[in-house]
Symmetry: C2
Subunit: 231 residues, 2 copies
């Protein structure tokens, strides 16, 4: 019997790289999907390519979609600075300015399109509800709503040949747990890219993402192998 | 009070053009969104621009996303011919080969991203459950599942400031009813493009989409203003 196929969203960061390693470990023939949504950090794409190659995927597609032209996020807009030190939050909700509108909805939709063509009913995404930075589209109820949508949206779902499942192996793990698990699975974290605002291959060490990463490595008792300019 | 904003998906076809006219008629400050998903028919984009200009939108964005690289549909793949005369269907489901995997999921996701940036909670899409060609993502249950997802996915939904609504003004109309309504609202159907396989500005008159359109105009008792090569 042919092994089951899965589409794995791969940004090139720590979480998605660990998620890909998990999918492969679980025996899925893995198809990595990187979506360029107009983010500033091109280096993430290079990291995704390196990780996909190292872990051994069946195929890797980089799909372009320009969310940048809508504006609205520090991660995609040139008009909003990436916050340093402690990032500002919406006081009512704690959702940071680095939130990209509808990002995971768009990412999962594109993954669903590829999965349906591949005859796959398994998607993997590295969302996390513990150290999740307050993004609404990282919560379990969002994931369940997407699974429900996927089964109504697609030919495969309507035919009942398969039930779409969105796998979130990191959902309840702390950043330190994710790092420990990734190291067990052989993830080379020196290839991953996390920083929202890197320069010349060096992470800033100060943005939201860097702080979460550094804290995770510290709590895991492991040295982070990437270079920081201000750590 | 500022008028309410809506994002309207506009392909340049008959249905989406009528939908845009309806959104404007209902008093929405309308933002037209055309998604190029690697379809063969570039002429649709030109049609969308002409319609958006004529009906008077606040802004019109053409977003690119290459679903073509996934393959899987006669509308996006060079390997599958667009069917002529009567199009072949999956015998079990009646879903035609022109089905684009997860298309409306992707389109609505991108529309949601823009809506959130605009502070809009209203999306318009010209899906139709009467003459709907058998696409699973044109059904009311799909639309409801997307509304549910949108309210969980977004900062606006989490904050409870607004409840996302997906408006489907054509859902229960026949093609003839759509055309009658569009003419009432002043839609210039000579600008719209419907054919899956046009050449030099002429529609084929034979594909699924052309047949539905021609039958609609016939039943509405109106002459279709576009040119056909084989009607």
């Amino acid at each position: 019997m042919r092994s089951k196929r899965a589409v794995v969203l791969l940004s090139g960061g720590l979480d998605s790289s660990t998620t890909l390693a998990e999918a492969i470990h679980e025996g899925y023939e893995s198809y990595a999907l990187t979506v360029r949504y107009g983010q500033r950090h091109e280096h993430e794409i290079d990291a995704a390519r390196a990780i996909a190659g190292k872990l051994g995927v069946r195929d890797h597609i980089v799909a372009e979609i320009d969310l940048k032209q809508f504006g609205g996020s520090a991660l995609t807009s040139d008009d909003i600075d990436v916050p340093k030190e402690r990032w500002p939050e919406d006081l009512a909700t704690g959702i940071p300015v680095t939130y990209v509108p509808a990002r995971n909805t768009v990412l999962l939709s594109v993954a669903l399109a590829w999965a349906e063509v591949l005859g796959s009913s398994d998607l993997f995404i590295g969302v996390n509800a513990v150290d999740y930075s307050g993004y609404p589209d990282c919560r379990p109820e969002f994931i369940e709503a997407f699974e429900n949508l996927a089964n109504l949206a697609t030919k495969a779902g309507v035919e009942g040949a398969s039930r779409f499942q969105v796998h979130t192996p990191l959902l309840t793990l702390s950043k330190a747990d994710i790092i420990r698990r990734g190291l067990e699975l052989g993830v080379d974290y020196s290839l991953t890219s996390t920083c929202y605002d890197p320069t010349e291959g060096e992470a800033c060490g100060q943005c939201d993402a860097c702080q979460l990463r550094l804290k995770g490595f510290e709590q895991a008792g492991v040295q982070d192998p990437i270079r920081y300019r201000n750590a």
